[in-house]
C-alpha cells in the first residue's frame, strides 16, 4: 500500500474559517484521500493543510480497520482507481467505519452508478473535474451533517453515573464537584466505557478507540489504565463499583452502589442525557 502522509499541525485553532468565512466545527478535521490524480491531490492537500486539517493520501485502498484506527472524519475516494472492487470497498468502509463521512470524487459516471454509490452509504458524490474548494466545502458539509445526526451530539453533555459526573467538555470526571484528576488518556478510557454503559467492550476495541491503533497481542495498556482509573475513582467515590472486569474479554461500565446505600436516583435531571448517549453507544 503506497501512502503519503502529510499530517500537519496536530493542534489546530479551535474554530477554522473556510473561504466563505463560515466557521466550521472545532478541532482539525481528519481526512483521508484515496486518489492517484497527483495534480488534484497536491492542490487539495495544500489547501486543507493551510486550514489546519490533518490528512493522509493513499494511492491504493487501505484496509477498513486501518481507516478505523485513524479516527477520521471524512474519506474522499476515487472509485475509478479501485476498478471492479470499488463497490465492495465502498460497502465495506461504509459498514465498518461508523461515523466516517464518505465522499466519492470520481470521473464521469452514470445515474445508476451514482445512485448505487449513495445507496451503499456514500454521503456525497462529486464528479471530476471539480474545484478543490468545492470538495472542501462538501467535506465540511458532510462532517457537519454527521455531527448533527449522530446521537453523539450529546457527546459534550455531562454523563452522570452513580456519584460520578463525566464531563467531556473538560476532559475530566468529578465527584461532588471535585475533580478526580484523570489524565487525558484515563479520561478517554472512562468516557468510552461510560458511553457504552452496560455493554462489554473488548480490550482490542477499547485500545483501538483510545490509542488509535490496533492492539498488539499481549499489550496490557488497557488493563493498566483501567486499574489507574479505578484507583482514582475509588479514592473519591469509595464503595462504589463502576468498571466491571469480564475475564478474557474486556470491561463493562455500570455503576453499582455500596450495598448499604440506596441505588442511583432514577429522577436525576441529567439522566436523560446519559441515557441518550448510552443508547447510541
Amino acid at each position: 500500500m503506497q501512502e503519503s502522509q502529510r499530517a500537519l499541525s496536530a493542534v489546530a485553532p479551535a474554530s477554522v474559517p473556510n473561504v466563505t468565512g463560515v466557521r466550521v466545527q472545532p478541532g482539525p478535521i481528519r481526512l483521508a484521500v484515496i486518489d492517484t490524480d497527483s495534480g488534484f491531490v497536491r492542490v487539495l492537500a495544500k489547501r486543507v493543510g493551510e486550514m489546519g486539517w490533518q490528512h493522509r493520501v493513499f494511492t491504493a485502498p487501505p484496509r477498513a480497520e486501518d481507516l478505523l484506527s485513524m479516527r477520521l472524519h471524512a474519506l474522499i475516494v476515487d472509485l475509478a482507481l479501485l476498478g471492479s472492487s470499488g463497490w465492495e470497498f465502498l460497502e465495506q468502509v461504509c459498514d465498518s467505519v461508523p461515523g466516517l463521512g464518505v465522499i466519492v470524487c470520481t470521473g464521469s459516471s452514470s445515474v445508476a452508478q451514482r445512485v448505487r454509490g449513495l445507496r451503499i452509504g456514500a454521503d456525497d458524490w462529486i464528479t471530476k473535474p471539480c474545484h478543490p474548494q468545492e470538495v472542501i466545502a462538501r467535506v465540511e458539509a458532510v462532517v457537519r451533517r454527521r455531527k448533527r445526526s449522530t446521537p453523539g451530539t450529546t457527546e459534550d453533555a455531562p454523563l452522570l453515573a452513580g456519584e460520578l459526573e463525566i464531563r467531556a467538555d473538560q476532559f475530566q470526571a468529578f465527584v461532588g464537584g471535585q475533580s478526580i484528576d484523570l489524565t487525558r488518556r484515563e479520561f478517554e478510557l472512562l468516557h468510552l466505557l461510560a458511553k457504552a454503559r452496560g455493554r462489554v467492550l473488548e480490550r482490542d476495541e477499547i485500545y483501538q478507540h483510545v490509542w488509535g491503533y490496533a492492539m498488539v497481542h499481549g499489550d496490557r495498556s488497557v488493563d493498566v489504565f483501567v486499574r489507574k482509573v479505578r484507583q482514582k475513582v475509588e479514592r473519591f467515590s469509595p464503595g462504589w463499583t463502576y468498571i466491571h472486569t469480564h475475564f478474557g474479554i474486556g470491561y463493562r461500565f455500570e455503576p453499582e452502589a455500596p450495598e448499604d446505600e440506596p441505588p442511583e436516583s432514577p429522577v436525576d435531571p441529567l439522566d436523560d442525557a446519559s441515557e441518550e448517549v448510552e443508547s447510541s453507544a
Binding site: E65, Y213, R220, F225
Partner: protein
C-alpha cells in the same frame, strides 16, 4: 558428569563467582517483579541499577583476583564466565532502563513471560555457581538453563512477530522490539554462563 574440585587457591575466585551468581539471581527476581507490577513498582529499576553497579564491582574483583592470585581455573574460562555473568545483569538493567527511557505506560505479557524465564534461569545460574564452588554436580542446573533459553527464544520470536501486524503503533514497535531483544540477550547470557561452566568441567575430567 565429573565435578570441578575447588583448590584452596581457586576458592577465592569461586567465591566471587558465587557472589556474582547471587547478584544475577537478585537482578532477575527484581526485573520479574518490576514487569509484573509495572508501572506501580517502577522504582525497582533503581534497585536493578544498584545490582548492575554491584555486578561491575564483582567483575572487577574477579579480574583483580585472576591477575594477583594463582588459580587452577583456566584464566580464559574465568574471564568468559565473569563477562557472561556481567552481561546478564547489564542486559537486565538495560531492559529496566528502557522502560523509563521509552516512556512505557504498561507492560506486554510477553515481556513478563520473558522476565519470568530470566528469573528462573538466574536462579539456576546462582545454584550452578554455588555447586561449582562446593565441587558438586551442576548438570541439572545447566540442562535447566538450556531449556529456559529455548523457551525464551520461542517467546521472543513470537513477541517480535506480533509487533509487525498491520495497524500497530510504530512507537510500540520501536519500544518493544528493543525491550524484547534486551530481555532475550540477558537470557542468552545465562546460556553462555552454562556453556562456560560446562567447558570448565570438561577440562577437569
Amino acid at each position: 558428569m565429573s565435578m570441578l574440585r575447588a583448590s584452596s587457591t581457586s576458592d577465592g575466585l569461586l567465591a566471587l563467582f558465587e557472589e556474582s551468581g547471587r547478584n544475577v539471581e537478585r537482578t532477575g527476581s527484581l526485573l520479574r517483579d518490576l514487569l509484573d507490577d509495572f508501572p506501580e513498582r517502577s522504582s525497582l529499576a533503581r534497585d536493578i541499577l544498584i545490582c548492575e553497579q554491584e555486578g561491575d564491582r564483582i567483575t572487577h574483583d574477579i579480574i583483580h583476583a585472576m591477575s594477583t592470585n594463582g588459580s587452577k581455573l583456566d584464566q580464559r574460562d574465568a574471564y568468559e564466565l565473569a563477562r557472561a555473568l556481567d552481561d546478564v545483569v547489564d542486559y537486565a538493567e538495560e531492559t529496566a532502563d528502557s522502560l523509563e527511557l521509552y516512556g512505557v505506560e504498561a507492560p506486554m505479557q510477553q515481556a513478563q513471560e520473558l522476565a519470568a524465564v530470566l528469573a528462573d534461569a538466574s536462579v539456576s545460574v546462582a545454584e550452578a555457581l554455588a555447586h561449582l564452588r562446593a565441587g558438586e554436580d551442576v548438570s541439572t542446573q545447566l540442562i535447566e538453563i538450556h531449556r529456559l533459553e529455548n523457551e525464551g527464544d520461542r517467546i521472543s520470536r513470537e513477541a517480535i512477530a506480533s509487533l509487525f501486524k498491520s495497524g500497530t503503533d510504530p512507537m510500540v514497535v520501536i519500544r518493544w522490539k528493543d525491550i524484547f531483544e534486551s530481555l532475550e540477550q540477558a537470557i542468552d547470557a545465562c546460556e553462555t554462563v552454562a556453556h562456560v561452566i560446562e567447558g570448565m568441567q570438561l577440562k577437569r575430567r
